[in-house]
Homo-oligomer: 562 residues x 2
């Protein structure tokens, strides 16, 4: 029982001074007259609000296990995640989704699953029958367009099971394509960047998840729409989509969304409804979470100041699990994962320096160079003439032209895409990573082939992670052994390692503010203008190959035959 | 395709002039620019709004098959019912629910089931797995209190299946009982009669179904609350609960709710959201019904005037099914039901005049008399001294005291409850009915035993229905052969028969405005102060027997041994 608190009804958006009775982990009643029992928490007049719910998040963005992530989120008041674990799904399939999700059983953080739509349809449909599955996760238009029948069947199956289909219509305005996605079943969208886009989603019957991630931040643009339309109070929720561990430690998570929303002019009660009840109703979980009404799970935040939003106490399922911003549960003994999930870097052979030659003849050659831009995930293509000597660009680093390789790392197919990239600005050394959307192959850039080789070998030794190499020496490494995506360390330790790696990259002359995030987006073919896959440069719209050498039919370095 | 219409988005509550594209029975898109195709309906600028949804209704109140009911409702714009078929469930069990619901497959009216909570739990749980089941239907507090473990198990099962539990908290204000019902799972309530009750439901996390039935009318009391709180736009819906066929023909159904809500000051768009989207979201059907957004079933009403609310055209699943208030489909050939469902009056023996004697000694006796009051379903108890002669009340009709019998009619147990009733005011004759809540036994009142016997025999011959007898002659009869509850005739024919029966009852001197409805409530034990069951008079609160003769331990006329 929590006595003497100012309870928020997220249904009516009103506050009520009362006592919260809790029984068997659920709210039993609000009762002003109740006698003090044995297990009493005196809230001393503070606010009691429901635990926050993130409407859509990729846990892998934090590079932490769920157990480690929970220690950061729960003390900040985040008690439930709607998690689309599609990164680990891309690497390890449905089994990977399940092994990561399993962590939620060991910590007081509730995880509901938006089942990755890119999984094999049979596997995805099996996972959708899990009791903690709420929807098929985001499937973007280009992906659907490539196999509309498959997705039509999958989405019909979701509806038949009373599950939702989550949307993802980045960049789309009102029009036939948006209608088509709604008609297919997309029930929400977290990709709206302005009010016009948000309105267009509401009109096709979708709810809007206002995203405030580490990279994409849409809250400031969209909050005015909610403020001006109190009668649409049920149509919006918040999500983080992707938040890095450093960002969580520095700014926060859904608590940061709450603070920002209030700062941008929302009433705290409205913002809290969006961060709790609306998300629960949308995902058809409102008999369980998202409210402090009787019958709901007793996930309660006690706090003195709604604008500061620093929970004094966090209660999950009726148990106190955090106090004053610190978790109040024992960290479990080091999590152990099956060996197969910790050994996911299979290159199929040792690379050698000779194998890294650009497939270009010596002399003056016109080439395509992928150009990265700070603070954007869009990539551009420069067409330029370079001097090639012995399979390398002559004085490439002086013109900010680096060699880049995407190496298939899951099945040892020896497939390598090789290309040129601009924007990183390295003067020496190499960077490599196994976090590389969507397939998470090994991506590596570098000034010299020797450093590129050393970076690849270091990644192979760690079986996944991030590496910085400077003239024959590894100057930073972040081990991400689970699927090559996730650290087994705690949040603060990992954040320290990541900071050190970024510092080491800057020491090489790197110009981008988040070099490893930029590196991870290079292989993302679907984001314009192009991406580098293990098969070479691919146009984002047509999905056609773009040869490295302009005018040549192919630039693919296929090393299957040594 | 419907061109040139002013489409209502029930999400944003805004109107948009556009064309509605329909494909495979669903809305495909809104498209202002579309070329005219072949199958075009020109809406000539009229409004297009979603088909109306009744959030909670007992179909049996209309005494019509679903096929016959659909012919009245669909042309009025009602395209979907959330139906709690508990009357037929009480008589025929789950099979009865299914046989009545089956009718929806033959007409363009969508029926979703609130599975009667009074069914055997195993049967109820089986029905809950039907794809058209949305919840367990209303279970009132007295019923739950009698077997809380059973209902706790059933409701947990509903939640496990992603289904709801519908509420029913007649008369309850804020307090521990209401909290207890919410904690058990009650997700809504249709019994609120005033603003305080409605607010108390919202605060325990329930949605409010504003009821406008034939007897109970709560719309005028509750609409001001919605009007004053636009930010609660998602928390209310409308329902009819019980509407008689006469009332539907005279006033309408959900169309009447719409007209009234607008008359009481709601914006039409708000009222329409409540009558469509809110109900769909609540029952987790919003990917299918309740909106004209892409992907939803194309259930469209075209109409020129939202306040008059007379649909010019009704489209269900993309097909035109009614025009100008008339159904536009062939009435199916007479519906045939299995013989067992048409033979449900089993008295177990022939009654004889001698068997109807009051179990009272001759002379002055103090007795309990159940008193009916016009326009109320509450029943009172008068305690009075009467003169008994030869097992009958001397000059009873002069003091408005009539004999009343409730005869078990399902299994031929020969169980008969006998008592006295006041308020009907008959000077001659008898009335009998097999519509008698909740068990639907045979209930009969009369001035003479001979007329009572004739009424019972007529009911037996018809195998269910309503009868009026006047001095040895049957002056009106309404056959309700399906379960003794439902006519096989069309709406207008049945309404005519019912009017004739009421007229015949008035000819006997009857004082009550709806004598057969009053008769049907006599056996309803759960409504204070008391009810007459086949076991005698029973207190509504304690469920203890109240002897007919004051001071005697029993008044039960058990006729098991002839």
């Amino acid at each position: 029982m929590v006595t003497n608190c100012n309870v928020l009804s997220v249904h009516t958006m009103t506050f009520h001074h009362t006592n919260l009775l809790i029984a068997e982990g659920r709210i039993a009643a609000w009762d002003r007259a109740v006698e003090k029992g044995k297990e009493v928490i005196d809230a001393r007049g503070s606010y009691a609000v429901p635990g926050l719910i993130d409407a859509h998040t990729h846990v892998e963005a934090a590079m932490l296990t769920v157990e480690a992530l929970a220690r950061l989120l729960v003390p900040r008041g985040v008690t439930t995640l709607m998690a689309d674990l599609h990164e680990i799904g891309n690497v390890l399939g449905g089994a990977g989704v399940e092994v990561l999700a399993e962590g939620a059983n060991r910590v007081p953080l509730r995880l509901f699953l938006q089942i990755p739509a890119a999984l094999d349809p049979e596997e995805a449909t099996r996972l959708l029958r899990r009791p903690d599955a709420v929807s098929f996760g985001e499937a973007s238009l280009p992906r659907i367009v490539r196999d509309p029948d498959k997705f039509t069947r999958m989405f019909a199956e979701a509806h038949a099971q009373g599950r939702l289909v989550s949307g993802h219509a980045a960049g789309l305005g009102a029009g036939p394509w948006l209608s088509a996605l709604a008609a297919l079943g997309h029930a929400d969208d977290h990709e709206c960047v302005d009010i016009e886009q948000a309105k267009s989603r509401l009109l096709v019957g979708q709810r809007v998840m206002i995203r405030e991630g580490s990279a994409a931040r849409n809250l400031q643009s969209l909050v005015p729409l909610v403020r001006e339309h109190p009668e649409w109070a049920d149509l919006f929720m918040f999500c983080t989509d992707d938040r890095t561990v450093g960002d969580i430690l520095e700014r926060g998570h859904m608590d940061d969304c709450l603070r920002s929303a209030i700062r941008y002019g929302l009433m705290p009660a409205t913002a809290l409804r969006m961060a709790t009840l609306n998300c629960a109703v949308h995902h058809r979980l409102d008999t369980h979470v998202g409210s402090l009404a009787p019958g709901r799970l007793a996930d309660v935040l006690l706090l003195d100041d709604l604008e500061a939003f620093l929970p004094e106490m966090v209660i999950v399922g009726g148990e106190v699990v955090a106090r004053s911003g610190e978790p109040d549960w024992e960290a479990p003994p080091e999590v152990s994962f099956p060996e197969a999930y910790l050994n996911t870097v299979h290159l199929g052979r040792s690379l050698e320096e000779g194998g890294l030659r650009l497939p270009l003849p010596d002399g003056e050659v016109s080439v395509r160079i992928l150009r990265m831009v700070p603070h954007q995930i869009l990539k551009y293509i420069d067409e330029e003439t370079v001097t090639v000597r012995d399979g390398r660009i002559h004085e490439g680093q002086d013109r900010d032209i680096l060699k880049i390789l995407v190496i298939e790392r899951h099945k040892g197919t020896k497939q390598i895409g090789i290309g040129l990239v601009r924007g990183f600005g390295l003067r020496r050394g190499a960077l490599a990573s196994t976090v590389a959307h969507d397939d998470h192959n090994l991506v590596v850039i570098g000034v010299t082939d020797a450093d590129i080789l050393l970076a690849v070998k270091s990644i192979e030794e760690m079986q996944g992670g991030l590496v910085v190499v400077d003239q024959g020496e590894v100057t930073a490494r972040v081990a991400l052994p689970l699927a090559g995506l996730i650290s087994l360390k705690g949040g603060p330790d990992l954040a320290g390692e990541l900071q050190a790696a970024e510092r080491a990259a800057r020491d090489l002359g790197c110009l981008l503010p988040a070099p490893f995030m930029a590196l991870s987006f290079v292989p993302l073919v679907g984001i314009p203008k192009a991406g580098l896959s293990e098969f070479g440069l691919v146009d984002a719209v047509t999905y056609e190959k773009l040869p490295l050498r302009i005018g040549r039919s192919t630039d693919i370095f296929t090393a299957a035959d040594p």
